[in-house]
């Protein structure tokens, strides 16, 4: 029998504590520590849950309020008396590009050292270069070379294709030519899009490829094609290619949407590729019978004027094209391209 059982069951616990001496001293410490831990853990959980709740609530409200980025104004200041538009004709497309750009002041006028530049050709369709559905790869490569030579920090080449991007980029020859000239080719994959504020008459927001958000300068390199709905697709319509998402809805008001997009981008320079143009069955083309070899390059900063010039190559009247009228109304330029200071070279 233990000494406690000997002394009887009515012994109060305090007696036991006194008898064990050392043990008595320890128990209050243990009790305090345990109590401290319990209080501590409970308060930490309480504070934590409140903090988490507040944090999640803040995030929810935060997302709705976040402002969408807008595209920069990529234009360079006008120079008094400078040539505003150059048209060059000749058998060598790359040479045409060089001469035309030189005529408007050289790429150095438009791209400063270290600037990030995006070159935007038309890579919309799964076609070979000779079918004139995409920009001539030689023209794209030459533009990239000129931009790089002017000291650009980064040169992107990109477009949002209509057909499968992989096949458009390779079969058009543009990816290979651009990479060889030193550009970073950006495919229109899902992670590459950013939501931006368009603030147009028709379009409020849109998903745009990141190079257009990040770049300091934007160079438009479209080609000249007939288009069933808009009549023609040239410089201004090329900006469809910055958009991802449900852009097929834009056709319900095609001319206004073209102008909204052209107004959003405000490019630095436009190099209109009319080496091979598509006269019929555009914008997809396909038959070589619809292609006409024109061996022409037109360069300028007024997209409306360049589109008006391109329209004449297709045998169309600029005043018949809705987006040219709307573009003038929006103050993007003039359709009377002859009124600009123009230089024409080559026969």
């Amino acid at each position: 029998m233990s000494e406690y059982e000997e002394k009887g069951a009515d012994l109060v616990p305090e007696t036991r504590l006194r008898d064990t001496g050392k043990k008595a001293a320890r128990i209050p410490e243990d009790a305090d520590r345990r109590a401290f831990m319990r209080v501590g853990i409970t308060s930490a959980l309480a504070v934590g849950s409140v903090a988490l709740g507040l944090g999640l609530r803040a995030r929810d409200g935060h997302g709705k309020k976040k402002a969408l980025p807008k595209l920069k104004d990529h234009r360079v200041p006008k120079v008094q008396g400078a040539v505003e538009m150059a048209i060059v004709r000749g058998p060598d497309a790359a040479a045409n590009v060089r001469r035309a750009v030189a005529a408007v002041g050289g790429m150095e006028r438009f791209v400063k050292k270290g600037e990030r530049v995006v070159v935007k050709p038309n890579i919309g369709w799964n076609r070979l270069p000779e079918q004139a559905a995409n920009t001539n790869p030689e023209v794209v490569a030459e533009v990239v070379r000129l931009v790089a030579a002017a000291g650009a920090g980064k040169v992107w080449v990109t477009d949002v294709s209509v057909n499968t991007a992989e096949q458009c980029f390779t079969r058009s020859g543009i990816e290979k030519a651009a990479k060889a000239a030193g550009a970073i080719v950006v495919r229109p994959d899902a992670p590459n899009f950013r939501e931006v504020d368009v603030s147009g008459k028709l379009l409020k927001t849109g998903d745009v490829l990141f190079p257009f958000v990040d770049a300091d300068r934007v160079i438009n390199v479209p080609l000249v094609k007939q288009h069933g709905l808009s009549g023609a697709t040239m410089a201004m319509k090329n900006w469809y290619g910055v958009l991802g998402g449900q852009r097929v809805k834009l056709h319900q008001n095609i001319h206004l949407s073209i102008v909204d997009l052209a107004a959003m981008v405000k490019p630095t320079l436009t190099i209109l590729d009319a080496t091979r143009i598509l006269l019929a069955n555009g914008p997809t083309g396909g038959s070589l019978a619809d292609v006409k070899q024109m061996d022409t390059i037109a360069v300028g900063t007024d997209e409306v004027a360049l589109d008006a010039f391109g329209a004449t190559l297709l045998g169309l009247v600029p005043g018949d094209l809705g987006f040219i009228i709307e573009g003038m109304k929006a103050g993007l330029g003039t359709s009377d391209w002859r009124s600009l200071k123009t230089e024409e070279l080559g026969g």
Binding site: L128, E130, Q131, R171, G286, S287, L288, A289
Partner: protein, 178 residues
């Protein structure tokens, strides 16, 4: 015995897989789109045949081109025998001699020489006379028919003066086709 066998077996997968991967590394060459534009050049070539600098007869109006649908409108029930021989296009026009006699000139582009030969043989009537020195031609009353390269030509006159001009027109066309 075991070690050589081991080594042989050990080498088989790398050799096999290596060959398959090596063979596959080259992408198959990108096929070109049809080099000959459907329609374009051939139509222009057909029209160009009528550009004859001939005194005996001159083209009165512009040349009309007919495709398969148009062919039915032009020659009605005779169309199927052309179509089943890969008929591509008909260039038809009226010509007139200096005296004012008319003749009709039909040039059929049959897409290939075999087809032109075939339709020539099919349409040849028993009354047709061969033309001396020209195996690919026959002449009949008020008509002259020949084939050369992928073309099949039918010339029809309406009076004796025009009939006399037919062989001259035929020869001029033949020369244009070379």
């Amino acid at each position: 015995m075991r070690y050589p066998l081991f080594i042989v077996l050990a080498l088989i997968p790398p050799a096999l897989i290596g060959t398959l991967v090596w063979q596959g590394r080259k992408a198959p060459p990108a096929e070109k789109v049809a080099a000959k534009p459907a329609g374009g050049d051939a139509d222009a070539a057909l029209r160009a045949l009528f550009d004859l600098k001939l005194a005996a007869a001159k083209v009165k109006e512009k040349v009309t081109l007919y495709d398969e649908k148009g062919l039915f409108d032009y020659i009605d029930g005779a169309a199927p025998i052309f179509i089943e021989r890969n008929f591509r296009r008909l260039g038809a026009t009226e010509m007139s001699t200096p005296e004012g006699s008319d003749l009709v000139c039909d040039v059929y582009d049959m897409a290939a020489p075999e087809n032109a030969q075939s339709i020539f043989d099919k349409e040849k009537s028993s009354q047709a006379k061969p033309v001396e020195g020209w195996p690919g031609a026959i002449s009949g009353p008020m008509s002259f028919v020949f084939h050369d390269k992928r073309y099949y030509v039918k010339l029809t006159a309406f009076d004796a003066k025009a009939e006399a001009a037919l062989p001259l027109v035929a020869r001029a066309l033949k020369e244009k086709m070379q």
